[in-house]
Structure formats: C-alpha cells, structure tokens
C-alpha cells in the first residue's frame, strides 16, 4: 500500500511527513542515536542547551555536527527550567544557536513528577509569543490550562501522557480524549510518558496529531528496532484514525450473514433483525 501523501503534520505552517518527534538524549552511543533517527524517520529532533561539563573538551560540537548531518529539523527545548524567566532566556539562547523560532517550552513545577508548572508555562508562553517565538508548550491535559495557552498564542499543544521518562502510557485517557474533542483545530502532540508503541498507536487512534518520544526509544534494549516499531505504530494509529473506527457496541453482532444459514427452517431464511 502506498504511503498517504496528503496527511502531513502541520506545525506553525511547516509541513512534516512524519507524525513522530524524537528526543536525542540517553542513547548509549552516538551511532545508536543516528541509527535510531534513521529508523524512526522523525519530523523533528529535540535538543537542549547545557553548560560545558568539566570532563568534556568538545562542548557539544561532535553531537551538534552529528545532528546536522541527519538534516532533520531541530526543536530546541527549555528542559530543566523552573521559572518563566529561565525559560524565556533559554529560548532566546536556543533561537540564536539553532536558528529556529520553534521552541518546546518546558517549565517544571514539581521535581518529583516533573509536572509542568501551569502558571509558569502560561507566563512564559505569553512572553515568548510576544518575542516572535513559535511555542510548543509541554503541558498537562487540563482543559483550562490548554485554553490559556491557546489564548496566549500557542498554535500547538503538547500534553503529557504520564510523567517524563516513566513509560506508563496515557494515565488519564478520558481527559486526553476530551481535550482532543474540545480543541479539534489545534495540533496536539502527546509528549512524555509514552513507553510502548501500543501507547503511541492508541493516542494516534484517538486523533492526536503526533507523539514525541525519547526514553521509550533510547532506553530500549535495542533502540534502533524500537524506533522502527514506534514509527510503524504511529503510522498505524494515524491511519486507523483517518479510516474512522467502527462504533463500539454493547451487544454481539454476527459478522457472517444470517441469510442462507443451513440447519434452519425455510421461514428463518430471512435477514436478521439486527
């Protein structure tokens, strides 16, 4: 079957063939990262900014060269920021280094769950939009928070499935699905907490526009194979959503026609009432 070509993921008027975004952290080696990128074929790669560590003489140069060679669009993040001010400063530094106005906005409110700070993320989003950024905020599935982010000018939202790095999959499916229904025109990317391809497939079946993964791939025993599995799952879920799933029913319905069934009297040879 040929790939659909008219189903691009559109984020801030940029079109991407893939609906999968991939993080670049926690791989055991650069070659694993590169091969996982190849296998996942992602729309974008997420990156961060960090101080040069004392043991490093490279200052991220080889990492950055490696990523540039993949020729994938870059989505910088503000990971680790705990205040709106830190996030805005980090975003400004990222725009200068990575030459993109796209920013994955993270403002962490709790160090145990790494839950987004809803107040800080809205404050930062307002300021970043004012400064011309295209903001993709990491948020919860809370509808009021999402409304505030849309009001702030965010054209994409990235609700969590579960706390970062847990791999638990969607912890609040009902709220996620309600968010999808309440914001039908906003691209929604499920970010954080996805652990299995089935989780990714599930949220795509619900109509989410994409998933952002990192640990689920990088900490798999075989990250390259897992990257490929996720790519297939995201595609399968997206296709299922577009195909329009059947309606779930309470009662059994025979799929084989009743008409012509043997061992019945002639009078029962008529269409089933159901």
């Amino acid at each position: 079957m040929e790939e659909q070509t008219n189903d691009d993921l559109t984020l801030y008027e940029q079109r991407f063939r893939s609906h999968l975004l991939l993080g670049t952290a926690r791989y055991d080696s650069p070659s694993l990262l590169v091969n996982a990128i190849r296998a996942a074929d992602p729309a974008m790669l997420t990156v961060s900014l960090r101080r040069q560590t004392s043991g490093s003489t490279d200052a991220g140069q080889s990492f950055w060269s490696l990523l540039r060679e993949t020729r994938r669009p870059i989505l910088p993040n503000t990971a680790g920021c705990h205040t709106a001010r830190e996030a805005v400063t980090t975003a400004c530094m990222a725009r200068e280094v990575f030459q993109t106005s796209l920013i994955k906005l993270e403002v962490i409110g709790d160090d145990v769950t790494l839950q987004p700070d809803p107040f800080g993320v809205v404050e930062a989003a307002i300021e970043l939009v004012r400064r011309g950024f295209q903001v993709l905020p990491y948020c919860t599935e809370d509808w009021v928070l999402c409304q505030r982010l849309i009001d702030a000018g965010c054209e994409v939202l990235m609700p969590w499935a579960a706390p970062i790095g847990t791999g638990q999959g969607p912890r609040n499916p009902r709220a996620l699905r309600e968010l999808r229904e309440r914001a039908p025109q906003i691209p929604l990317i499920v970010d954080a907490g996805i652990g299995l391809p089935s989780h990714a497939c599930q949220v795509m079946e619900w109509g989410f526009d994409g998933v952002l993964l990192n640990t689920a791939v990088s900490r798999a025993l075989d990250p390259v194979r897992m990257a490929s599995a996720f790519a297939s799952a995201v595609t399968a879920g997206r296709r299922a959503f577009l195909a329009g799933p059947m309606i779930v029913r309470e009662m059994a319905v025979s799929s084989t026609p009743e008409i012509g069934r043997p061992f019945t009297s002639a009078s029962s040879d008529r269409p089933s009432p159901r």
Binding site: S48, A59, Q61, L212
Partner: protein, 65 residues
C-alpha cells in the same frame, strides 16, 4: 574582582566587557550567553559591560528530550 562563569569564579577581564571575557575563554563551537539570567545577543557582546559578581552562563548544544 571576579565574575561567575558557569558557576565558577573567573577574573574580570580588561576591558570589562563580555567580548573581552569570551576572548579569554574561547568557547568552542556553537554557543550562546546569558548574563545574570538574561540573554545577551551575539551582536551586543562588544557593548555588554560586565561587573563584579555578574553571573555568566555559556551554553552549547546538548542532547534533549
């Protein structure tokens, strides 16, 4: 007279500008700078004065999720 560079004390350069400090530090590759938690655009390094106790952060591309 020190500034704090990435959390560590560093002597103030002469002249006391961010450009002079960066000339001494020679950060490798792609980088960006914040002074006292505020972004400093590359085009303003020459005119960005630094003072005793200023906190300078120099960051580079890194892996991220």
């Amino acid at each position: 007279m020190f500034v704090i560079v990435n959390g560590h004390p560093h002597p103030l350069p002469e002249p006391r500008t961010l450009a002079a400090l960066l000339l001494l530090l020679s950060p490798l590759g792609a980088f960006a700078v914040a002074r006292n938690d505020e972004f400093v655009p590359r085009a303003t390094y020459d005119t960005c004065d630094i003072h005793q106790g200023d906190r300078i952060d120099i960051v580079h591309p890194a892996a991220g999720g």
